[in-house]
């Protein structure tokens, strides 16, 4: 059953309030009336008003001021300004200030009926539209991930299916494509969702640290091990262990991990007791593991053990149709986090975003939107608010060798989330050289990057 239509009547003349209210009640509407702006503002927050009929000339707060205040609280509030004095100027002003319509008292009954019915229909369409957009978004969504790209939607379907199994999943894709989000989605869709989801970034730790991080250690296992520490494999019991950047682990750890995966058991460092694994293993990498196998940097047997179910997340430049959807998604999110009311991006800004190559993928887009929302002065993000690093398509004409080197190093750093070890590997230089170049070119990590 349709909900009752709520109408708020604000007029300082009692006789007008009463006759309009009773006419509207006879017509089946829910009506409340207020004799002035102050009273109206008291009543206003009590319900969702489909329409406010506001008299233009009232002592104290006038009709236009009252409408502005309504719209400040509810930006889409529909208001009709009523007046006994028909002047073009006031009509124009009322409409400019956002009134839906302007009516001169007394109303022709037919005009009043038509106007109100038109508004109710309009409201119904707006609500239907919002509902349908939400429904559509649900189809494009998998937990924190959002996409309308057919490849990603197929991945969402696959995730919903494989989540129920215990098979190992290998997620491949460039940095920033959402590998961890996908791993979390698999966990959330699985029966393990109540158990922990533990993530380990393999690239950020040295071999020894990673070993104790994964397997834990017994008290006295090594100097400094003054108490027992449970490893991530143990902490993730019954849940999901996500090994990020698996392509970066040493050959020794690869062997240990392979043994664990095959035997489903492990020992803490310095321990003798076997601990059975009950967690599910998910792994991800931005490296080409097949190439790494050819180069002898990754074990073939571990690859096949991990690659039971393989998911490849395409980069954002191959699914540009997702850019507007992600922009809207990030704006919604940052509006809440930053307590802002940004409504969207200008056409010019969207053009810039669509033309960009997105080497850092969705993560880079998120950072760009976050920054733009911090600097935006308007409720719409403009082209000037968008700050993008040099595109990989950008020409090199007129640039010195030093400029090109600086741009290239910065791009690799951004692509690798400022992971120095990995960036140095990609650049083919050692870490110390990379640090020196960062210093020389005064490269700085952007906030949020």
């Amino acid at each position: 059953m349709d909900r009752k239509v709520n109408i708020l009547v604000v007029d300082d003349e009692e006789i007008v309030r009463d006759s309009l209210s009773s006419w509207l009640i006879d017509d089946g509407y829910e009506v409340a009336a207020a004799e002035n702006g102050t009273k109206a503002l008291e009543i206003f927050p009590s319900r969702e008003w489909d329409l406010c009929l506001v008299d233009l000339k009232m002592p104290g707060i006038d009709g236009i001021q009252l409408m502005e205040e309504f719209k400040r609280q509810v930006p889409d509030q529909l208001v009709i300004i009523m007046t006994a004095f028909a002047t073009v100027d006031t009509a124009v002003k009322a409409m400019k200030e956002g009134a839906y319509d302007y009516m001169v008292k007394p109303f022709n009954p037919e005009d009043l009926s038509i106007t109100i019915r038109k508004i109710i229909e309009h409201q119904k369409l707006v609500r239907e539209n919002i509902f349908l957009r939400k429904e559509l978004k649900k189809q494009y969504r998998l937990h924190d991930m959002i996409s309308k790209n057919h490849k990603i939607l197929e991945i969402f379907d696959l995730v919903r299916t494989v989540a129920k199994s215990n098979s190992t999943v290998l997620i491949q894709g460039e940095s920033g494509t959402g590998k961890e989000l996908l791993a979390r989605a698999i966990h959330e869709e699985s029966l393990r969702r109540e158990a922990p989801f533990i993530s380990v970034s393999c690239a950020s730790l040295t071999e020894t640290l990673l070993e104790s991080e994964l397997f834990g250690y017994e008290k006295g296992a090594f100097t400094g091990a003054d108490s027992l520490k449970r490893g991530k494999l143990e902490l993730a019991q019954d849940g999901t262990l996500f090994l990020d950047e698996i392509g970066d682990i040493s050959l020794k750890l690869q062997m240990d991990l392979l043994r664990v995966l095959e035997q489903k058991e492990f020992r803490r460092v310095g321990g003798s007791g076997l601990i059975t694994i009950t967690s599910r293993i998910l792994a991800a990498t931005n490296r080409d593991l097949k190439k790494a196998i050819e180069e002898g940097k990754f074990r073939n047997d571990l690859f096949y053990r991990l690659n039971v179910i393989s998911i490849h997340l395409p980069p954002l430049r191959e699914r540009k149709e997702d850019v507007p959807l992600l922009v809207e998604h990030f704006i919604d999110r940052f509006n809440i986090e930053m307590d802002k009311k940004v409504e969207g991006v200008s056409d010019g800004a969207m053009r810039v975003l669509m033309e960009h190559d997105w080497p850092g993928n969705a993560r880079e887009l998120r950072n760009v939107i976050e920054r733009a929302m911090v600097v935006a002065k308007d409720t719409r993000i403009s082209e000037a608010d968008i700050s993008l690093p040099a595109s990989r398509k950008e020409g090199t004409n007129g640039k010195s060798l030093g400029d090109i080197e600086k741009d290239h190093i910065l791009r690799i750093l951004v692509e690798n989330r400022w992971n120095i070890i990995r960036s140095a590997q990609v650049l083919g230089i050692d870490r110390v050289t990379l640090y020196n170049k960062i210093k020389k070119y005064e490269l700085k990590k952007e906030v949020g990057a």
Binding site: E13, S19, I25, D26, D27, P106, P109, E110
Partner: protein, 156 residues
């Protein structure tokens, strides 16, 4: 049903600027002068009626009250520059009188064009609607007149 004699139109109900009569004021007087045992009272007036917010009304009634008022002015063909027609006039009066009385039994406007409780904004609306209440309004009316009958109708 009883037909009462003429009731004077209160002077203060005349709106000189609009050359019309304020129906709410007349309705109040009508109810005040009604015999104490009246269940409902229907006033019929030759004058053109209005309320402050609308340019005209065919009539007015107290929702869930006892008083209803109907104006004949806009029900006559002559008002629209046509030849007088008693049949059309009676038909319109029948519809509007029952419509206003319907309000006194708590009925609100109905969205069905053929129903007597459909809101008439123009004389075409009056002519288009039927001479009877729709099924839903009739049921609502019955529940006011004979509350026991509803259970038989709904079967619950």
């Amino acid at each position: 049903m009883k037909t009462a004699g003429d009731v004077p139109i209160p002077d203060h109900s005349f709106e000189a600027e609009r050359n019309q009569y304020h129906s709410t004021k007349i309705l109040k007087e009508l109810v005040r002068g009604a015999p104490p045992d009246s269940l409902k009272v229907l006033g019929v007036i030759e004058k053109d009626l209005c309320i402050p917010i609308l340019t005209f009304v065919y009539g007015e009634a107290q929702l869930n009250g006892i008083g209803a008022l109907v104006s004949l002015a806009r029900l006559r063909q002559e008002f629209y520059g046509a030849q007088p027609d008693d049949d059309i006039f009676r038909e319109r009066l029948h519809k509007e009188a029952l419509h206003e009385l319907g309000h006194t039994f708590g009925l609100i406007h109905c969205s069905l064009v053929e129903c007597l409780m459909y809101l008439s904004n123009t004389i075409l609306d009056v002519d288009r609607k039927g001479r009877a209440f729709c099924r839903h309004c009739q049921r609502a009316l019955n529940s006011k007149i004979e509350p026991g009958r509803v259970s038989k109708w709904t079967g619950r």
